[in-house]
Structure formats: structure tokens, C-alpha cells
């Protein structure tokens, strides 16, 4: 047994910011807020356990073995623990740094390395992703997607199942509103189109712009969208994350926007952290901080200028809180308030609405087993509400939840908030 007052701990390794690790007082109030703890009920799959491991690693009291890497990998990075934490532990920051430490010091199996490398090579580049999906899109047009799915097995089949319909026209898909705002002095908002979002769910970008214009904002556009770097931040590739961040800072600042929103909440929080990510950048530290301060969220912005006129929609809706929206940006009430302002709409709350659905960026591709368990849990909560629509504000959650509901033969529609509001806009 180690004695109190024995040799003082000291950092032997640079796992994460050592001082920040001391914010954790080991109280355990985070346990039940952690999706992976909810599933395994084991300390090493809890935020407190992970922070404890980070500290033990940093102090040289533990080694970065298969177990340590495994339990860090299993973290969704949903940051539900940050909302629960009374001592203000900056868990998101800690786990991102730790992931970078793991990538630099731990060798995964060949299969895992290939999966991770492939994701990193394709997802941030819309053209590559489109090219990859072209055959599937064709198959879908020929009504043969089902056959392809059946022909596959294992992980590729699960991945295909997660993809939304590629050829169908999504609901409320209308041409991007270039409607001039009535007030030339209205604040300018830019929608970051995101790398995966623009390929798989571009209606959410266009409808975000449409809603913002309807609420009276001037909507400006970027010349081209560069990946925000969230994928890299969450997989320990800080170097490329910084590169993407720098490109985005330059481009978005040039656009002269007063506020920035993204249809993907993970992108929003990533950009909100640019200030921190680029704090040592000699040229862009200041602009990055300024940009981070401009990150907003669709419903909050809309409410600020007064909700636009919605038509009556007699339907039942349940709202799922995307992790980075609720735990990262702290947005909980605004989307609900906006939804409830739609005449005829009845909002039915599900329990654990702010618990991760397992999508978590590319988590459902790299950790399919845990992701699936969380999807099941989420689907059960949703189905219990008997709501006709599941509204959420993140494409990743949308694909994940829709896939699980499809598997269960549910007829509930999973719709992004922007698409839903566009549907409700009175013409």
C-alpha cells in the first residue's frame, strides 16, 4: 500500500496537460453520465477511470499497454462527463491529447491501422468520398443496394447499413435560399458545409442557410469548404488538425462573417476549440481565438431575431441532443423552444435524450460493437415515445439512429433540425 505523504508524484511522460489532470477530484459524479460506463459498468470505461489512467501513465505508474489503449479507444469523446463534472475537468481536451499520445506511442494491429488510415485519407476530402460512394449510388439507382448489402459481411456490411439513401431526394430539399435579408445591417452568418455533411447530407447545409435567411440574417458562403479537423482531433492526429484549422481560420475570417454555424455539431465544437488548438501559432493564434468566439448554433441564432413564421404541423416529435451540441456548446433549450413554436407540434421528451447514440464521429466505424449497443439503447428510448419524428442537429447521429430504426422496421422519421424547420417554414 502506498502511504499518504510518500514520494510526491511527478510527470514522467507528456500524456496530456498534467496540471489539468488535477482538476479531477475522483468524486465519481460523472459515472452515470458516461455511455460506456452505462454499458460495461466498469471503472476503466468511465471518465474518472480514464482520467486516473492518464494520470498514472503520466506519472509512470502505469504503462501504455493494450488495455490502456483499449479503454481510451472505447471513449466516445461525447463529453457528457463535462456536463456532469462539478470540478470543471476539461475532459474533451484531456482525451484529445491522450489520443495523440496513444497514436504516437502505441502500435495497433495491422487491420486497425488500415481502417484508421483509410478513414483519415477519405473522409476529410469530399471528392474522394464521392468517388468512393459512386458505385453504391449507381447501385441504389438500379435498386440493387440491398443486393450489395447482402453480398457483404462483417464490418463493410455494417458500414453500408449506416449510410443514408444516396440517390433519393431528401425531404424539404430546396434550392439554397439566396434571398437577401431585408436589413442590410443584419449580422452575416456563414454555414460551414463540413466534409462529410456536404456529400451525404447537403440539404442540411442548404436548409440551415434558408432558415437563417428567413430569420433575417445575411447568409454568406465560403468559396470552398475545408474539413474542420474534428476527425483528426478525435483520432489523435493533431498535426493535420492544426493544418485544417489554419486553412479554415484564414478562409472564414476572410468571409467577414459575424457568426458561424455548422449542421454537424462536432464541426462546431472543433472550430470553437481553434483558439486552444492554435494558441502557439505565431500568426493565427489571435484570429483563431476570434473565430472560436463566433461559433454559434442554428436555433439560438434564429431565436435571437425572432422565430420565422411556421405553418401548422400536426405531429409528434422527440428531440435527441447531439453530444457536442449539448455538452460541447451547452445548447439544450433553444432547439426545443424553436420546435415547440411550430403550431400543432407536440414535443415528447425521451429519457436520456442527451446520451450519445454511438455515432460519435467515426466511432461507429472503428468501434462498431459498443456503437451498436448505444444505438439500441437510444432506439428503445425513442420508440417508447411513439413519436413520428426524431429531430436532431447532427448528421452522424441521424445516420446512426436511422440505421437502427430501419433495422427495427420502425416508421419514425429521423430528420435534421434544419431540414425539419425548412419543412415547417410557411411559404
Amino acid at each position: 500500500m502506498e502511504q499518504p505523504g510518500g514520494s510526491p508524484p511527478h510527470p514522467a511522460r507528456d500524456v496530456a496537460d498534467y496540471e489539468l489532470l488535477f482538476d479531477c477530484v475522483h468524486c465519481g459524479l460523472c459515472l452515470e453520465a458516461c455511455p460506456t460506463y452505462k454499458v460495461t459498468r466498469a471503472e476503466m470505461d468511465s471518465p474518472r477511470g480514464r482520467v486516473y489512467l492518464m494520470k498514472a501513465l503520466a506519472e509512470g505508474r502505469a504503462e501504455l499497454d493494450d488495455d490502456a489503449a483499449r479503454h481510451f479507444d472505447l471513449c466516445l469523446g461525447c463529453r457528457g462527463c463535462e456536463t456532469a463534472c462539478p470540478s470543471g475537468v476539461r475532459y474533451g481536451r484531456l482525451i484529445e491529447d491522450t489520443r495523440a499520445f496513444v497514436e504516437a506511442n502505441y502500435r495497433r494491429s495491422r487491420g486497425e491501422r488500415m481502417v484508421r488510415r483509410a478513414l483519415g485519407m477519405i473522409f476529410p476530402y469530399p471528392r474522394r468520398l464521392r468517388a468512393m460512394l459512386a458505385p453504391l449510388r449507381l447501385a441504389e439507382r438500379l435498386r440493387m443496394r440491398g443486393l450489395i448489402r447482402l453480398a457483404l459481411s462483417g464490418r463493410p456490411r455494417e458500414w453500408i447499413e449506416l449510410l443514408p439513401p444516396l440517390a433519393a431526394t431528401p425531404i424539404a430539399r430546396k434550392s439554397a435560399a439566396r434571398a437577401e435579408a431585408l436589413d442590410p445591417d443584419a449580422p452575416a452568418v456563414v454555414v460551414h458545409h463540413g466534409c462529410v455533411t456536404q456529400v451525404l447530407a447537403n440539404s442540411e447545409n442548404e436548409n440551415s442557410e434558408r432558415i437563417l435567411a428567413a430569420a433575417g440574417y445575411r447568409v454568406t458562403r465560403l468559396r470552398g469548404t475545408v474539413c474542420c479537423g474534428a476527425l483528426d482531433l478525435h483520432s489523435g492526429n493533431l498535426k493535420r488538425a492544426r493544418k485544417f484549422a489554419r486553412e479554415n481560420v484564414r478562409q472564414i475570417m476572410q468571409s467577414g462573417a459575424d457568426a458561424l454555424v455548422s449542421a454537424a455539431s462536432g464541426c462546431s465544437t472543433a472550430i470553437a476549440e481553434y483558439g486552444e488548438l492554435l494558441k502557439d501559432d505565431p500568426e493565427l493564434a489571435g484570429p483563431a481565438r476570434a473565430l472560436s468566439a463566433k461559433v454559434r448554433e442554428l436555433s439560438g441564432l434564429v431565436l435571437e431575431r425572432g422565430a420565422p413564421k411556421f405553418r401548422e404541423m400536426r405531429c409528434t416529435v422527440t428531440y435527441h441532443d447531439a453530444c457536442h451540441l449539448v455538452h460541447g456548446l451547452g445548447v439544450r433549450e433553444a432547439p426545443r423552444t424553436l420546435l415547440k413554436s411550430i403550431p400543432g407540434l407536440r414535443l415528447i421528451e425521451m429519457p436520456e435524450s442527451d446520451m450519445c447514440c454511438g455515432s460519435a464521429g467515426s466511432y461507429n466505424l472503428t468501434e462498431p460493437a459498443m456503437a451498436r449497443q448505444l444505438a439500441r439503447r437510444k432506439a428503445e428510448r425513442i420508440l417508447a415515445t411513439k413519436a413520428q419524428y426524431v429531430v436532431l442537429a447532427n448528421p452522424g447521429c441521424e445516420f446512426q439512429i436511422a440505421a437502427e430504426l430501419r433495422r427495427r422496421g420502425s416508421r419514425a422519421k429521423v430528420v435534421h433540425l434544419a431540414d425539419f424547420l425548412a419543412m415547417a417554414l410557411a411559404d
Partner: protein
């Protein structure tokens, strides 16, 4: 490798295989890195890694595991969510840890008889959540209630802010299923509200895991109060606030809870949660009345008047349920908020007769000065249960020792004022050395004999709670010197 070591390994492997056969492969943890996360609970001053962690799902599995340990004479410690603040779940000479976190099923809800049957790993708050829609609640509400388990509450006889009116865990446990250290499953108490014979449930509640492993509990439920009034009163100093506490109780009105926070805590909480506490106040009281709506305003009004007479500069009523909830959230997360002030802290838990509160608080501030450590106070003032929070930095060994010594000095002062060593956190590993302050060797012997009725070999959470006269120093030597 010596013969001893290799035979030890063989025994270890055989035991692992036997346990895995009982609870399944995913129910046993034996690799070092994973076990490391179990080396301390909410009491972080000491750590010790278990050799095997078992995560059973049923009483039958617990029984099987304890039988396997019994045959080999191996000691064990039970753990729930690991939120305890006295090291109750710290393994001290207990190689095997039995964690009840997966035993989290609510077995039966019986509204007509106002009771609920739960497995011991069910989270405290989940009990109330399960019966809220029917208008009931489970009264004990420790600050860690979002995470701590009923089993842990039973072990430590946990309280909470509303202890003042509703009592602690033991007042709400009707019956228990206990797996004795030899693996036998016994039922104690029962569903009936009145019982005869010796109160064996009462002996197990608060035994801190030294009687075996509780696997199921029948808990009493209370009707959700019709209405509540929650008052926040600001005082110039802790002295006037605690005098007001005694006066409120003496006046005959019984609030559901009276909580106090001093200046250091007020500021930490306000920084963290922005609830609108008066940061210029020396102390605040949260006074809550609950019950039938009729007469509630009169009682709250009386308390406000007493507070004013004792120097309260401002008293206000929570205007909405949201405001009340925010106030309680701030109060319950105050401990964590203190984490923002210093790298580490240790929460002490002592009790004094209510009228001695001003005196003990003066003593605490003298201790704070003497040891050069900041100490904040947030506690259940209504029942005299103090929680001085001592701030320190674990990277300075001098500070760690001073924090321990300061805590002990405060406890000695509590006992000298006719108080007790713990209100709700338990003795655990932390305060075993202080037990002789409160109990004579004969008292301790009787306690040990009672424990032997359940656990004759002292294999259930060994080296906790009761110091052994003579052997005590030896037992505690690896940790710290305990004068008996």
C-alpha cells in the same frame, strides 16, 4: 522462481478459473492496468490495488464467489460506485474486490405497501426516479446520489441534506439479502414495517461491508411532499448563521433540511455554477420546509424572522421549482466545485451537538491557521454534521501530512464537544485510528464480537472500522502510525 511463488500462481490461476466459471469471463478483471483504476474510491489519500476484481450480476454469483474465497481463506472487499469518502472500498489486505455495479436491477415496486425491492448496485437517485411518477421518493439523498449505490449507502449508513427530518439510510431499510463471508445467502428483516427480535438489519446497515456483501434491499418509500419552501439566507459570518440554526430548531419548526456554506465554498460554487449566491456573505443557509401546503408559508416566515433576528442580511424564497433545483444542484456539487480551488482536497465528516456549531467552526478556522491550509465548510447544519473541506496539494508531502493531521485535530475537537467521528461517510480506512477517542477498549471488543457473528475470520473488508487493541499498530503500520 521459488516454489512458493509458483504454487501461489497456481492457486491464483485456479481461483481465477473458478470465479470466471461463476460470473463469466467478462465478469473478472485481473490485469494490472485495468485494476489500477480500482485502487482508491472517493478517499484518495491512500491507494491499494486489488489483485482480482469480480463483477457479479446476481446474489447466486456473489455466493459462489464468496464460497470459493471461503475455501481458500481469502479476504475480500465490496465496492459499489466507489464514491465513498472514508476509503470503505479500499482493499487493505483484501486481495479480491467484489463490485456490485452490475447488480443494478430494480426488482419490484410496491406502491400500495410503499416499498421497493432493488439489487444493491442500483444508483440511489434511480430509486427515486423509478417511483417519482407515482408520487413517491426515497429519502436519503447523499450529495453523490447521482452515482452512489444503495449497497454503498447501506454499508456507510449514508445521510444527506434531508436527514434532519427523514433520518439516515437505516431508517429506510426494511429488509436485506446478505451473502455471508462463507457464501451463505441470508434474508434479514422483511417487508413488514414493524419487526420483533434483535434488529439484525440495523447491525448490518453501517457495518461498512464487514458483515458480508449485501445483494438486495427492500427500501421504504415516502410520499413526495405536496409542497416545498426553500429559503436562501445570507449572514455576515458563520457564527451568526449557526446560531440561527439552533434557534430555528429550538423554535419547534422542523425544516426538511438546513444546510450551511461558508464564504470559501460560496465563492467556489458561484464561480462554478452561477446560481446567484451572495459572494459578499460570510455564510449562507439553505433552509427547506416541505409537507402539506397549508401552513408552509407560516413556518417559512417564522424561519426567515428568526434568521433576521440572528443577523441575516438577506433572505429570499426560491420562486420556482427550477430555482430550487438549481440551489440544490449547487449545494450537492459544492464538494466538486472546491476542486477548482486546489489540486486536492479531503472532506472531513464529524458531528457535534447543534448548539456547539459556532464553537467547532471557530476551532476549524484556528486549525486552518495553525496548519496553513485553507478549509471550507459546507454541511448539514440542522443535525450538526460538519464537513470541513481541507485543501492541499498532493505533490507536496508536507501538505499531505498537514491535511491529515488537521483533519484529525478537528475530529478530536468534535469528540471533545460530545460529538462523533462520522455523520455519514463512515470510519473506513480513514478514521479507524480515531475510534479509541470515542470508544473504550471494551466497546471495541463488543463491536468486534458482533462482527464475528457474521464474519468470524474477518475476511469481509478486513482492517477497517474496528482497530484491534494491541494488533492495531501492526495492522496500520504500512499505512500510518495509529496510536491506541
Amino acid at each position: 522462481m521459488s516454489r512458493d511463488q509458483s504454487s501461489e500462481r497456481r492457486t491464483g490461476r485456479a481461483l481465477l478459473a473458478e470465479i470466471a466459471a461463476i460470473v463469466g469471463g467478462d465478469g473478472v478483471v485481473f490485469r494490472e492496468t485495468e485494476l489500477k483504476t480500482y485502487e482508491c474510491d472517493g478517499w484518495t489519500m491512500e491507494r491499494s490495488t486489488p489483485e482480482i476484481l469480480v463483477m457479479p450480476r446476481t446474489a447466486t454469483q456473489v455466493s459462489g464467489v464468496l464460497k470459493a474465497l471461503y475455501r481458500r481463506g481469502i479476504a475480500f472487499v465490496a465496492r459499489g460506485a466507489g464514491t465513498g469518502l472514508s476509503g470503505g472500498a479500499l482493499p487493505v489486505g483484501a486481495p479480491v474486490m467484489v463490485c456490485t455495479s452490475r447488480m443494478n436491477r430494480i426488482l419490484a415496486i410496491d406502491p400500495a405497501n410503499r416499498r421497493i425491492d432493488v439489487q444493491s448496485g442500483v444508483v440511489n437517485l434511480h430509486v427515486t426516479n423509478a417511483v417519482k411518477s407515482r408520487g413517491f421518493f426515497y429519502a436519503p439523498d447523499p450529495s453523490s446520489q447521482v452515482a452512489c449505490t444503495i449497497g454503498g449507502n447501506i454499508a456507510e449508513n449514508s445521510g444527506g441534506p434531508h436527514t434532519l427530518k427523514y433520518g439516515v439510510t437505516t431508517n429506510h431499510v426494511l429488509g436485506l439479502e446478505l451473502v455471508l463471508p462463507d457464501g451463505e445467502i441470508v434474508q434479514l428483516g422483511g417487508a413488514a414495517e414493524e419487526r420483533c427480535g434483535y434488529d439484525l438489519v440495523g447491525a448490518v446497515v453501517g457495518a461498512e461491508g464487514t458483515a458480508g456483501v449485501v445483494t438486495r434491499a427492500t427500501l421504504g418509500l415516502l410520499r413526495e411532499p405536496e409542497s416545498r419552501r426553500t429559503i436562501l439566507a445570507a449572514f455576515p459570518d458563520a457564527d451568526s448563521a449557526t446560531r440561527a440554526v439552533s434557534a430555528i430548531i429550538a423554535s419547534g419548526v422542523i425544516p426538511g433540511a438546513i444546510e450551511m456554506m461558508d464564504r470559501l465554498i460560496i465563492r467556489a460554487v458561484e464561480d462554478a455554477f452561477h446560481v446567484g449566491l451572495p459572494t459578499d456573505a460570510g455564510a449562507v443557509l439553505i433552509v427547506e420546509f416541505d409537507g402539506y401546503a397549508a401552513g408552509l408559508d407560516e413556518r417559512a416566515g417564522a424561519a426567515v424572522e428568526i434568521a433576521r433576528q440572528h443577523g441575516a442580511t438577506d433572505s429570499r424564497l426560491a420562486r420556482s421549482e427550477a430555482e430550487r433545483a438549481l440551489l440544490w444542484k449547487a449545494r450537492k456539487r459544492a464538494f466538486g466545485a472546491v476542486g477548482r480551488l486546489a489540486p486536492n482536497y479531503v472532506t472531513q465528516d464529524g458531528v457535534v451537538p447543534r448548539t456547539h456549531l459556532p464553537k467547532i467552526l471557530r476551532e476549524i478556522s484556528a486549525v486552518s491557521e495553525r496548519y496553513g491550509l485553507a478549509i471550507g465548510n459546507v454541511f448539514h447544519a440542522g443535525d450538526g454534521n460538519i464537513h470541513p473541506i481541507i485543501l492541499y496539494d498532493e505533490r507536496d508531502p508536507g501538505q499531505v501530512q498537514r491535511a491529515l493531521d488537521a483533519g484529525r485535530e478537528i475530529l478530536r475537537a468534535c469528540v471533545a464537544m460530545g460529538g462523533s467521528l462520522t455523520g455519514e461517510h463512515g470510519i473506513g480506512a480513514e478514521k479507524m485510528g480515531e475510534m479509541p477517542l470515542l470508544f473504550s477498549p471494551d466497546d471495541l471488543l463488543v463491536m468486534a464480537e458482533l462482527r464475528h457473528v457474521f464474519d468470524p475470520d474477518e475476511r469481509a473488508n478486513p482492517n477497517k472500522v474496528i482497530p484491534k487493541p494491541g494488533a492495531c499498530v501492526e495492522v496500520a503500520a504500512p499505512r500510518r502510525q495509529v496510536p491506541v
